[in-house]
């Protein structure tokens, strides 16, 4: 496979232009009904995430309960998925049994991915075996930066095969790719290799998701759709903490890809603290004032 792989030709990206375009979305003004609809939509797109060294079964169960019922007082949609390390997949699957919420797991030796291919594939298989229905893999940034694009492509193909029926989200870790041109190329390689979703970041590297980086990825998805008719999903992750930012991302998705992408099948937020901010804003829309964060359960 590697020998026959041709590096895709992708359009150049002008840094000034893409950042200017991304900033334009910030000037949209979302009010009233459109805002409430946007808030609900954002909740339904969240991959509620805990990826810490001190995660315990108890903490994961707490997060699953929050996913099932984000607010004790408000009627809101459930989140799209709970995202955990492979060791916690079983706990999450058990807690979410019977619900529509997916269990996503970061595999392939997240976040660095710096181990042998055999071990990365084993990591994926074990997470899928434990019941994860979505796998968030990291690409081999070292291989990408040394120009081994065929290897990057090949590894994603192998992970995709190891996923079986589980959906594959490919994390580019854009903060380590450094240029928009690299982001555009990596997005295309991941899409060509069969990614169901492309995702910006692990959340462990700064900068994580940004609007311009996400825009470049959305434009890659749009061009792929125009050429092949096939849709690919998008997941910005890390750094999206408040409602204002989340709505700006939704505006950008709507105006770049269209309404067809505005649902959890095609767009996700990788976030944890975003959920409570969205709930605060919904409460504000209903009652006219903010309530204390004491009324919100921790997540």
């Amino acid at each position: 496979m590697s020998n026959s792989y041709q590096t895709p030709r992708v359009p150049a990206v002008d840094q000034v232009g893409v950042e200017e375009r991304a900033a334009r979305f910030n000037t949209r003004s979302i009010k009233k009904g459109a805002k409430l609809a946007g808030l609900d939509m954002a909740i339904s797109m969240i991959d509620l995430t805990t990826l810490a060294g001190d995660d315990t079964p108890g903490k994961v169960r707490m997060l699953c309960r929050k996913a099932l019922r984000p607010s004790a007082t408000l009627e809101t949609p459930q989140v799209a998925a709970v995202c955990v390390y492979p060791s916690m997949v079983k706990v999450a699957v058990e807690e979410l049994a019977g619900s529509k919420i997916n269990v996503a797991s970061v595999a392939t030796y997240f976040p660095s991915g710096q181990t042998t291919m055999r071990e990365r594939l084993e990591d994926v298989k074990s997470a899928v075996g434990d019941g994860a229905s979505e796998i968030d893999m990291v690409i081999n940034r070292g291989a990408f930066l040394s120009g081994e694009y065929a290897r990057v492509f090949d590894e994603i193909c192998q992970v995709r095969a190891a996923c079986g029926d589980a959906h594959l989200k490919v994390i580019l870790e854009t903060g380590e790719l450094h240029t928009y041109d690299n982001v555009r190329l990596a997005s295309q390689i991941a899409i060509d290799a069969g990614a169901h979703f492309i995702k910006t970041s692990t959340g462990k590297i700064s900068p994580a998701a940004t609007m311009p980086v996400t825009l470049v990825m959305l434009q890659t998805i749009r061009d792929h759709y125009l050429q092949t008719g096939k849709m690919v999903g998008m997941k910005p992750a890390g750094g999206i903490r408040d409602t204002k930012t989340a709505l700006r991302y939704l505006i950008m998705v709507k105006e770049t890809l269209g309404d067809a992408w505005l649902n959890p099948d095609w767009f996700r937020f990788g976030a944890s603290s975003l959920l409570n901010d969205l709930l605060m804003q919904i409460e504000k829309q209903h009652s006219g004032h903010y309530h204390s964060s004491r009324y919100l359960s921790i997540s």
């Binding site: 150049a12 000037t27 979302i30 125009l226």
Partner: protein
């Protein structure tokens, strides 16, 4: 479907008077027996106010006030003192930015997003910039001894009423001149607000005077014997007329006239950013932009891809109420301009070019036009030659850089062009070969007070902005 709810900008901070006269010698004046015309909100077709039309006597009064202020106050004031007034004007414009933006949108039809984010901040920036030059004129032209010219007569267009006033007034004042300015007939209101700001800033009486009116008022100003300099921005036709009228006098003249800019897109361009540049080039301010990129020159090999992406992008443009914060394309400035654009669109169809218009619902009242693109245009089409001054793009193709240069330069105008390529050497080669005052590289319609702007050929002469912008208001002896 996730639709944006209406997000209307409140207009309550704008206090409109029923009638406006002129601003002469530091006061608002309404000469007896004056005739009045109405200024209309092009988005609603409702009149906003009545405006007095200045006759020769009123223009004379304004010029006399300017002369007096020049000789008794402004000319001999130390530059650092003049700068204080100009800085103060800029700061008050910032304080009253929202009011200025809303009024600009009501009177002219441009989207509030543009008046709020472009026109008003940029207008203030020009005052800030030129305030900085007021006490450094001798450093601007080393070895020379720059002195002011005297009374400047200035005539500005309706597409950027406040911004064009700033472009004209700020360098004139910094250089020590006094001003009589005629705002455009369809958009006089922000100038009246600017006059209030001058009062608030304590600008000495007569340093800046505004006379309202149409062509006759402009003509009276141009022909006034005590005006030392004419600065005009507007159509090439009127520019030629002015040049004939002042021939044989010792009046100085700068003209910023029409354009038919080419936006040249090579196959190695950053395509998605180029699409934004094309959209910004022709649909910014409804295409009422003298430097608009109204001709798209696209390399043949990527024509279909660019057109497909452009049409997709155009479908997301929101056309309608200019006061809605989410509107991208507002109202055509006047009934007359609307008619002219419609006529040229009909010409394009009759000449056999292929018409594409964005599918958008337009308000039933007001002068609204869907963003329009013609493909299959050749240099012999009228829509490739005439300045349409509306949201209408003519698409031509080329095969080589030489052909692109030839086609881009095949126009009577020479104001601005854009070049889109990822290759720096090609960009500089093109920039040197294009006959226009401005060449933008991988961007379009970008303005900055530090950067000179102006034309070649029938786009006029003289530069506004930057150090060069001072030259039009100074004698370099």
């Amino acid at each position: 479907m996730w639709d944006y709810a209406p997000a209307p900008q409140s207009t309550e901070m704008v206090k409109l008077k029923k009638r406006y006269g002129h601003f002469i010698d530091g006061e608002f004046v309404e000469p007896e027996g004056a005739t009045y015309f109405k200024t209309v909100n092009p988005a609603t077709e409702e009149p906003l106010a009545e405006i007095a039309s200045a006759d020769e006597a009123t223009v004379d009064r304004a010029v006399k006030a300017a002369r007096k202020a020049y000789e008794t106050v402004w000319r001999d004031m130390p530059g650092a003192e003049r700068a204080k007034y100009i800085y103060r004007i800029a700061r008050i414009m910032q304080e009253r930015a929202r009011e200025l933006a809303v009024l600009e949108t009501m009177d002219g039809g441009k989207p509030i997003r543009e008046s709020r984010d472009v026109d008003v901040p940029l207008a203030a920036a020009y005052f800030f910039y030129y305030a900085g030059w007021a006490d450094k004129l001798e450093y601007a032209f080393p070895g020379a001894k720059p002195t002011p010219i005297g009374v400047a007569g200035q005539i500005i267009p309706w597409n950027f009423p406040l911004l064009m006033a700033a472009w004209k007034i700020a360098p004139a004042l910094a250089a020590g001149n006094t001003v009589v300015l005629k705002p455009a007939q369809t958009t006089p209101l922000t100038a009246m607000l600017l006059a209030e700001i001058f009062q608030e800033a304590g600008l000495p009486a007569g340093v800046v005077n505004f006379v309202n009116g149409a062509a006759e008022t402009g003509s009276a100003l141009v022909n006034h014997p005590d005006v030392d300099k004419i600065a005009f921005t507007g159509s090439t036709g009127v520019g030629k007329l002015i040049q004939r009228q002042i021939a044989g006098t010792d009046k100085r003249l700068t003209l910023e006239l029409g354009g038919k800019g080419a936006n040249i897109v090579f196959d190695d361009a950053p395509i998605d950013q180029a699409i934004e540049g094309i959209v910004n080039g022709i649909f910014f301010n409804q295409g009422h932009v003298c430097c608009a990129g109204s001709r798209l020159l696209v390399q043949e090999s990527i024509h279909d891809e660019v057109m497909a992406k452009l049409k997709t992008r155009m479908a997301t443009l929101r056309v309608g109420d200019p006061l809605d914060k989410n509107t991208d394309v507002g109202a055509i400035n006047s009934a007359a301009q609307y008619k002219r654009i419609q006529e040229l669109i009909e010409v394009g169809v009759a000449e056999g070019a292929e018409l594409h218009q964005a599918q958008c619902s337009l308000p039933s009242t007001g002068y609204f036009l869907a963003p329009t693109v013609f493909t299959g245009v050749t240099p012999s089409h009228r829509i490739a030659k005439d300045e349409i001054f509306g949201p209408v793009l003519s698409v031509l193709t080329f095969r080589t850089p030489e052909e692109a240069i030839q086609k881009a330069n095949n126009t009577a105008y020479g104001l601005a062009n854009g070049v889109w390529t990822d290759k720096g050497s090609k960009l500089f080669k093109m920039a040197n070969a294009l006959n226009s005052g401005v060449v933008w590289g991988n961007t379009y319609n970008r303005f900055d007070p530090t950067s000179p702007f102006g034309g070649f050929k029938e786009s006029g002469f003289g530069r506004e902005g930057g150090r060069h912008g001072l030259l039009g208001y100074l004698n370099i002896g």
